[in-house]
């Protein structure tokens, strides 16, 4: 009973410290939570934030959807085919370490600053992580399970549906979770750099006298990330209840 209160205590403690620090430093340096509520909440609902956020999210989701649709088969293919793995793995390793921010100036030259630019940045940020996670999951499929399938005379299609797919399920969801986080990050990077959408709100709020709106926008992003993670974790325990993730990371 007492243990379950600890997370709330931790959050309360951090909020309290923030409030105290904010009051001492002043709104210009660090607006306290109370100021964020007073100044940001009305702004959140006056129509200047939520529609912009929805529009940004729509483009982010398109980029992420493409990355997922492309990354999942690529990951499976890499895990199942040695040749394809040898061809694609160096690019995967490069893609994982490449900084999204460094891609932004290049993509602006290639795609301009509109819809296709934002979608392709998000795509490039998420696709590697989706592919890598699915790859690791597909590599982890115990060949003995497939042998059991063959022993029971499962055809290739049957063994895909009955063995591969269920075994991959948890990884498909982890891939979505990691992919979405990278997609949100990429969205912010791209939009802040070219000052459009939600990124523009963040950029412009940095110019205002109070840090309250800026902190409010950050809290919205935080809530968004937490919400996405939460939904996908729930989905995981619903679709693949037998799979226990070891670490919370």
């Amino acid at each position: 009973m007492k243990r379950s209160l600890l997370p709330l205590g931790g959050i309360a403690l951090v909020l309290l410290l923030w409030e105290v620090a904010g009051r001492r430093l002043g709104d210009a340096l660090l607006a306290p939570p109370s100021a964020v509520i007073v100044q940001f909440v009305p702004q959140l609902f006056d129509g200047s934030v939520l529609p912009v956020l929805a529009d940004s999210l729509r483009q982010m989701l398109i980029g992420f959807g493409l990355a997922y649709a492309f990354g999942v088969p690529a990951g499976v293919l890499m895990a199942r085919s040695r040749t394809f793995d040898a061809l694609a793995h160096p690019w995967l390793s490069m893609g994982i370490v490449t900084s999204i921010a460094a891609l932004v100036p290049l993509f602006i030259l290639m795609f301009g600053t509109g819809f296709s630019f934002r979608v392709s940045i998000v795509f490039f940020a998420a696709v590697w992580f989706v592919a890598l996670t699915v790859y690791q999951g597909a590599r982890g499929i115990d060949p003995r399970w497939l042998e059991v399938g063959r022993a029971f005379e499962a055809g290739p299609l049957q063994s895909f549906w009955k063995i591969m797919l269920p075994a991959l399920c948890p990884y498909l969801i982890i891939a979505a979770r990691i992919g979405v986080l990278h997609a949100i990050r990429a969205m912010v990077v791209a939009e802040t750099f070219v000052v459009v959408g939600y990124g523009a709100l963040i950029h412009n709020s940095g110019l205002s006298v109070s840090t309250a709106p800026l902190l409010g926008l950050l809290l919205v992003l935080m809530a968004l990330g937490a919400l996405a993670t939460w939904i996908l974790r729930r989905a995981s325990s619903w679709i693949a209840p037998w799979y226990q993730e070891r670490a919370s990371a």
Binding site: G10, G206, L221
Partner: protein, 234 residues
């Protein structure tokens, strides 16, 4: 190959083929232009990463070994981790300006969570039987931490710092583009205004190679320092 084939058909401004990029990379490295910029970038990278290690490793150990602390602060940490680091940029400008301190701060922000989380997982998962052995032979308190918990978690510390290193390299170039453009970021800005896609790609490839090289070098260091650790096949 696919890149080369497609790129040869497109105008070079849109996508230059890899052959041109590689030649350009060699040229700019030999002329010293990229080398000077790279050395300049190292300052924020090294300082930011050092800050991450100094703060992230002990914090990770504290969260990993103390259940109460972990339950109190894991949600806070996860929440902060969910915020894209670049969203902090306007905030960092207010606090640290546009130059070195701001860049160090962004490098730190982009790498500290990875290190903290990896170390806390490692410290949490130390085999309790090894701790029993330590206690059985009379180790207690700090000595138990130093002689048993720390070496047992060391492979995780390395894994965390390896990821943190790559994130820190990303943080460095991000900072050079988002604050006052400098070093590699300045080169990219110039290239962009001249519509020089080959130049941009050169820097991107250089950074990616740097990231891979840093990872590989670190993995070798790891094999030297923690030779007992048989890494599971990645």
């Amino acid at each position: 190959m696919v890149w080369e084939a497609i790129a040869r058909r497109l105008p070079h401004i849109v996508l230059p083929p890899p052959s041109i990029v590689l030649v350009r990379l060699a040229q700019d490295l030999l002329s010293g232009k990229l080398v000077v910029a790279l050395l300049g970038s190292l300052e924020a990278l090294v300082l930011g990463l050092a800050l991450t290690i100094v703060i992230g490793v002990p914090l990770g150990f504290a969260l990993g070994r103390n259940r109460t602390l972990a339950e109190m602060f894991d949600p806070v940490l996860n929440a902060l981790y969910a915020i894209p680091p670049v969203a902090f940029v306007p905030f960092l400008v207010i606090w640290f300006g546009l130059h070195l301190p701001a860049r160090i701060a962004l490098v730190f922000l982009m790498s500290v969570f990875e290190v903290t989380v990896a170390v806390s997982v490692g410290a949490r998962e130390v085999n309790p039987r090894l701790i029993d052995v330590g206690r059985s032979f009379g180790a207690r308190g700090f000595e138990l931490t130093r002689k048993v918990v720390f070496p047992a978690a060391l492979p995780f510390v390395f894994a965390g710092v390896r990821i943190g290193l790559v994130r820190a390299i990303n943080g460095t170039i991000t900072a050079e583009l988002f604050f006052a453009a400098i070093n590699l970021g300045a080169i990219m800005n110039e290239d962009a205004t001249r519509f020089d896609t080959a130049g941009l790609l050169t820097v991107i490839v250089l950074l990616a190679l740097l990231g891979l090289a840093a990872q590989a070098a670190f993995a070798r260091l790891e094999a030297r320092i923690v030779p007992w650790h048989l890494r599971p096949a990645a």
